[in-house]
């Protein structure tokens, strides 16, 4: 199919899942900042940053073999995970605009991936 091995695809998918949880914790931790910037050192934000930076470890391992333009679409699934976590943890509504925008973005990223072969 491509020069990109399955192990790279799985590593990058793992990175997307870790990154989506990172976003949830960043959002949780960012709420503390509304009480003042000095609250930037809080546990939730720290965990979010660890997940966010940590997600780049499997990403770097993944992109080592294979093309960035093929592996990159895999990361985009993180937006889908985040949509579910946002509903689950923050009770944010899943609107038509969000679904439409997400569909466009995913389609676009798949097109970019196809164009990258």
């Amino acid at each position: 199919m491509t020069k990109t091995p399955l192990s790279s695809i799985l590593l990058v998918l793992l990175a997307s899942l870790i990154g989506s949880f990172g976003a949830v914790f960043l959002k949780l931790g960012a709420a503390h900042l509304n009480r003042g910037f000095r609250y930037i050192l809080n546990r939730q934000l720290g965990f979010g940053v660890v997940l966010f930076l940590g997600s780049s470890v499997p990403f770097v391992m993944g992109v080592r073999h294979g093309e960035l333009s093929v592996l990159y679409p895999m990361v985009s699934l993180g937006y889908v995970w985040t949509l579910f976590w946002s509903k689950l943890f923050f009770d944010e509504p899943i609107t038509k605009a969000k679904l439409g925008a997400l569909a466009m973005i995913l389609a676009g990223i798949i097109c970019i991936g196809v164009g990258g072969r």
């Binding site: 976003a23 949830v24 960043l26 959002k27 931790g29 960012a30 709420a31 900042l33 509304n34 930037i40 934000l45 979010g48 940053v49 966010f52 930076l53 780049s56 990403f59 770097v60 992109v63 080592r64 960035l68 333009s69 990159y72 985009s76 993180g78 937006y79 985040t82 949509l83 976590w85 946002s86 509903k87 923050f90 944010e92 899943i94 609107t95 605009a97 969000k98 439409g100 925008a101 997400l102 569909a103 466009m104 973005i105 389609a107 676009g108 990223i109 798949i110 097109c111 970019i112 991936g113 196809v114 164009g115 990258g116």
Partner: protein, 143 residues
């Protein structure tokens, strides 16, 4: 987009807009970080065996010498800080997908740095991503 934002009443066009622009800024940082990490990942690294302490030092030195990878992490940290500030307001499900704009920048940068070529699929993909992000931006200004 900006002109339609100013046209709506002050109360409706609250802070979410500022968050949207901050996340747009994040995408530029993220694209730079991805390109730097791709460069860094191409560096030849010595084999490291966790069970053999003698292999730790060469690996650590090679890691510290891999300035592109380190710079990539540095830029990614700046990106995280900006994202945190952006996430104070607005919905995560609205703001997070905007990060997809990173793909657009990465593709343009990849043409320059990695000699990848533009084609009809990439152009279509870039247009769709920009369209999706614009849709989110419009939706957030109504929130």
């Amino acid at each position: 987009m900006a002109s339609s934002v100013t046209a709506i009443p002050q109360q409706a066009a609250r802070r979410p807009n500022k968050s949207v622009y901050m996340v747009l800024g994040c995408t530029v940082f993220a694209a730079a970080a991805q390109v730097l990490m791709k460069f860094g990942a191409n560096h030849a690294m010595p084999h490291m065996n966790p069970a053999e302490p003698s292999t730790w030092m060469p690996f650590a030195m090679a890691l510290l010498g891999n300035y592109q990878l380190l710079l990539g992490y540095g830029v990614q940290s700046g990106n995280a800080l900006l994202l945190i500030l952006a996430l104070r307001d607005g919905e995560l499900s609205m703001l997070y997908p905007i990060i997809a704009l990173t793909y657009v920048w990465v593709n343009l940068l990849s043409m320059y740095f990695f000699n990848e070529h533009m084609n009809i699929w990439k152009a279509l993909g870039i247009a769709l991503v920009i369209g999706g992000v614009a849709l989110l931006g419009r939706a957030s200004s109504r929130a």
